[in-house]
Structure formats: structure tokens, C-alpha cells
Amino acid sequence: MSKKTLLLGDEALALGALHAGLSGVYAYPGTPSTEITEFIQAHPLTKERNIHCQWSCNEKTAMEAALGASYAGKRAMVCMKHVGMNVCADCFVNSAMTGSNGGLVVVACDDPSMHSSQNEQDSRFYADFAMVPCLEPSSQQEAYDMVRFAFDYSEKYSIPVLMRLTTRMAHSRSVVEVGQAREQNPLSSPTDPKRWILLPANARVRNQQVIKQLEQYEEDPSAIEHNKIYEGGEKADMGIIASGIGWNYLMENIVGKIPFPVLKITQYPIPKKLIKEMADTCSTLLVVEEGQPFIEQRLRGYLPQSVTIKGRLDGTLPRTGELTPDILRKALGIKMKEACAKSDVALPRPPALCMGCGHRDFYTALNKVIKDYPTAKVFSDIGCYTLGALAPFHAINSCVDMGASITMAIGASESGLHPSVAVIGDSTFTHSGMTGLLDAVNMNANITVCISDNLTTGMTGGQDSAAFGRIENICLGIGVEKEHIRLIVPLPKNYAEMEETIRQEIEYNGVSVVVCRRECIQTAKRHLKKENKK
């Protein structure tokens, strides 16, 4: 019996995983991937089956825990935003070498156009590099169906499978027909235990297998099902290769029969045979892919020079940013529809820290102190507090990757920059800041680390923070001197005390930590509502 329900792409994938017999989801929140784990956390089946769904400290710990679950024979999934792939890359790439036992699916949600991200990296390159299969659904229904297939496939070839979503798939709703839940896997031992010990002698043997399997993936019946050529009509001299949601934008512009032959790709490795088949009859190939020119770059290697390749590299489509149906329309030379004229009266409305947010009060105090130190630089990090870069605060000088505030402050300080201040959130601190702080202690770096602690992971909607109630103890354990771990409460009435504390710690020659703690205004509101209901 099937049931129809309206789901976000993220939710469809999450439900698909639950129905595939998932035993654990391991993740760190990050837009646009957060809703996958949240959906699983809230689903009744999770409680009924005791499915692991607690947030991990970061993407690397998540990936490793999931690999452990797979070792034990269970089906496990790892979810993250695209830049999380950088954090878990060590384990991800090596998980192809160990292979999987229970089905292991890694979900990366890419964010072309950088709606909530610092770059546009395309996770398909990771799959290619690690030599693992990759799936890229073009609809919410495919997201639901494909994740189940991904678990089966992972177990068939003992290999992790990467699933790639992009923002518009992750955060768009559609009706999905869902099926029944499969049983979870029992505990089981890997059949080839040597693979899991990546000593060079073992890894060399495994490397050959992984490479050999690449060919098998292309021959697998699923590759034919997920990568299809649609015969074209009268304009058969140009062929179009459309992957993932690129297919949707293409089809949006087609009325009636498709005039061009189209190859739809939703499963990788790239289907070389199908592409060659297309190139036999088409002198030009247009590649429509969301993200970076992954397929386009590789085509040159498969095809004779006589075939013209169009896409993001030759300027037929924009080199950066997400695709839209309009971009495709223009590229295909179809006349635009008549629309209302654009108005220049509308002004930009950038995101801002919420009114009443503790980060606001912290930056107000910090700015006041920093004004007295013209050489000071503030290295910041990833979270709501990154918005301190914008008006009216202009309070930070950097935002690079999770945890970089502390370590960049160390490097700058050792190069002679003073004062060297780091601003990091509580969740980012436990994600990747703690090891940097240990470096600082070991090097006795002259830095002031401000941990703006709102007791949650704020930017992604208020998920639990791993260091809840333990920040001071963690700093103490790492070796920061007790008298230089200071606590301030960011409220206007405390400005004088806050400024004095920050000033004292900047003046101190060594590692100091100023914990600036007040609950996120959004989660505080939610907690209050809950309290009132009782």
C-alpha cells in the first residue's frame, strides 16, 4: 500500500532512508542539509526502532561513527552541507578503501549561488576522487526512491554511496508516493576483515578492487535505469546532457515532443558509453548541470575534438551560480515571456542579527574596546555571529572555515599582530575550535578567544550544542589558566563590566578565553512557549 505526502527534498530523502531500514543518522547541522536529520529525529519510527539520530560534533566524527555502524552490519547515513565534505574528507575517501558492510550512504547538500555558504564546491568531485558511486535525484520522488536503492547498491558492491542534493531540491516540496518500511539489518561481521585495516599491503590490494568496480558500476542495470537517452525530434544535430535538477529546468522549456535528443544523468560514474552513442549522431553537445562543470570538463577526455561541447565553460551557461529555467530558456534561444518590468525602487534587505540577540551586545562591547587598539584584528568564524561583519557592527575581519578563528589568530599573533582576537560560537568551538585552542596553549600564543555562547547551533535553527554547560571545563581541561577563563553576560546593563573584562584579557600576554553567554533569543522564545503551555 502506498501513500502520498507533501515533502521537502530533504524530508523525502530522510523518509526514504527510514523506510530503507536505517539504524543511525550521523550529522552536523548545515544549510541546506539540516532538515534531513531533523525529520528523522521527529519521526515516530525513529523512537520505535531506537534509531540513532543525535547530532555529532562535526562531519568527521559523524562520518566515522557511521562507518563504524556499517562495519557492524547496520545501515547508516551521514548528512552534511557541501563544505562538511571537506571536514570529513579523510574518512570519506578512506571509506572507499575499507568499503562498507551494512549499507552506507553519505548525503552532501550543495549550495550553488551560495545562499548560506562560503563557496560553491560541487560534491560530485569528491565522489569521483574517492571512486565511489554518486546519485543525483532530479525530483523529490527520486530522492525518496533513490536513497533506498543507494543502501541496496552500497551493500551489493560493499562501497559507500554519495547522494548529492542541491539547495533547490533540498528545500522544495512536492508530492511523494511512499512505500513500506523494510526491516533493519541484524548485526553482522564484514566478510573480508583485512580490508578494514588499511595497512599499505592491504590497501594496495583493495585499491585494485575499487578501480575494477568502477567499470562494474557502469554495467550495472541500475545505470541504465538512472541514465536514459530520450530520442529527439527534428533538431537532432545537437544533443543535451542534463543531470539532476538541470533536467527539470530543461524540460520546463520544452512544449510537446523534445526536439533534441537528451541524456538524463542521475547516477555516476558518468555513463561514457551513452555519451559516445550521443556524440555519434550529434555534432554539438550542451551540458546542463547544477553546480560546477563536472561532466563538461570530463567530456573532452571521452570525445573526439570534432564534437563541440557547450555549457558553463564556453559561456553558453553562466560559469557560476545556480541554474534557473530562464537561464536555460535564453541558452536555447527561446523567446522570453512578457513580464512586468523590473523596478529599481526595491532596496536590498540583507539578513541581520535578531533584535535582542546576545551577539549584538557582545559586538557592541567588543567594538568599544577594539577602538582603543588601532592595530587589533578580529578573526571570526561560521555562525549567526558572522553577521557581525555587516552594518552596524563591522566587527570582524575574517570568516573562512569552521574553527579557523582561533588558529588564524595564533598565526597572526605569532607574526607580530597584536591584539589578535578570535570570535567563535559555542557549537563551532566544539566542531573544530578545541584542537586549535590546544595549539594555542601549547604555543602560549598571545590571543584572546571570545566564545560567544548562545547555548545552541543558532544559524541552522537551534539544534543542540555539543558543549552545552561545559565550555569552561573544556577550556580548563585543554590547559587555559583558570584566572583567564572569564564569563560575561551580554546585556546592555553589563556593558561596562564586559568591556573591562575584554580589555583585561587583551592586555594579558597569553591565552585567554572570554565566554560570553546568553541563550539564543529564538530558542529562548521557544522554551518560554513550552513553559507557558505546561
Binding site: K4, L6, L8, T31, P32, T34, E35, H115, S116, R168, M169, H171, S172, R173, S174, V175, I245, W247, N248, Y249, M251, E252, N253, T324, P325, D326, R329, M336, K337, E338, A339, C340, A341, K342, S343, V345, A346, L347, P348, R349, P350, P351, A352, L353, C354, C384, L387, A391, M459, T460, G461
Partner: protein, 193 residues
């Protein structure tokens, strides 16, 4: 038959509840639906929009192409302006007339009204005020939905009401009634125009 609708506003104004109601009605009337939302950074007081596509035949793109949107429902007047290139010439805009000012420079409201009316049919509703007058101060978004209801066309007004009842049911009878009252007050705002 199809209808493309853009919902716009500022993060936190409740456009996603409007989308949820229309979405429920669409599903229960066997329409195809795609609804792209904005999550993440912009939800912190930035501009947010949702592309809502309803059709009796399958829909491919999650995003509405330029010139295909028939209706903009906006919780904020300047935010409606941002999506004009997506609106068909002569399409409808139903917008809250009360500006939400959280930026240092905000255009003159008369200038915004003029720009909106240039190529489109516009209904301004002081939905915050109407909601308060109807003792449903938190249901400004349902007032606006009521004012926009007859321009949705692909769904009967009664079906939208049924959706409101179902979507808010888990929040209790009072919330359901507040939202229905707000919706009906909104309905009157557009019919009297």
C-alpha cells in the same frame, strides 16, 4: 490548468504558513504541486520568498520562470516589488500595505505603490490592522490569504478554508477559528474592491 504564485516577505513574517495552507488544499484536490522555500541565513530578517506552483499536469521546475507568475502574495510592500519580473503583465499582486522597516534606508511608500501599479493589478490590504480588528492579531498572514483567495483561481475558496481548518487543527479550536475569521475578513477586503 495551472497557477504559479510567489509568496514574499521578510524572514519571520509567516509566508510559509500561507504556503502550507495552499499546499494542503492543492494535494487534497489532486493537483500537482512544487513549492520552493528559502531556509537558512535569509531567515534572519532578510528577504524571503517561496515559489508555489500548482497544476493539473506534472510540473518540472521548482522555480517559476520569468513572466509566468499570475499572483504575488506579499507580507510586505517592498518585497512584492522584488519579484515583478516573474509576474505576467497584468497579473495580480495582493500585498500587506504596512512596511517592515529593518534597513537604514527605506523607499517612500508612495513610490513603492506607484512602482507596483505600473504593470500589475494591485490590492493593498492593511492586514496587520484587519487582523487586530478581528481579534486575531497573529493571523495577518491569513487576512492576506483571504484577500488573495479569489485570484488563486485553481482552488475554490471553500477548499482553502477547509485547508486552514486542517492545517491549524493540531493547535486547537481557538486558533482555527481565529484564522478562519482572519481569512474571511481578508476575503471581504478584495471583494469590496
Amino acid at each position: 490548468m495551472k497557477k504559479d504564485i510567489i509568496l514574499s516577505g521578510v524572514g519571520g513574517q509567516g509566508i510559509l504558513s500561507i504556503a502550507t495552507v495552499i499546499g494542503w488544499a492543492a494535494i487534497n484536490n489532486s493537483l500537482y504541486i512544487k513549492q520552493a522555500e528559502v531556509h537558512g541565513m535569509s531567515q534572519r530578517g532578510g528577504d524571503v520568498q517561496s515559489n508555489l506552483r500548482l497544476s493539473s499536469t506534472p510540473i518540472f521546475s521548482d522555480l517559476i520562470p520569468e513572466g509566468e507568475c499570475g499572483l504575488i502574495i506579499s507580507m510586505e510592500p517592498m518585497e512584492a516589488l522584488r519579484y515583478l519580473p516573474y509576474l505576467q503583465k497584468g497579473g495580480w499582486i495582493v500585498t500587506n500595505s504596512a512596511p517592515f522597516i529593518n534597513i537604514p534606508v527605506y523607499p517612500e511608500i508612495e513610490e513603492i505603490k506607484k512602482a507596483l501599479q505600473k504593470d500589475a493589478n494591485v490590492i493593498f490590504v492593511d492586514s496587520d490592522k484587519v487582523a487586530k480588528e478581528n481579534m486575531a492579531p497573529l493571523s495577518s498572514n491569513m487576512v492576506l490569504l483571504g484577500a488573495a483567495a479569489k485570484y488563486i483561481e485553481i482552488l475554490d475558496i471553500e477548499k482553502i478554508k477547509e485547508a486552514i481548518r486542517n492545517v491549524f487543527a493540531r493547535k486547537g479550536e481557538k486558533i482555527v477559528e481565529d484564522n478562519i475569521r482572519a481569512f474571511e475578513a481578508g476575503l471581504k477586503c478584495s471583494i469590496s474592491k
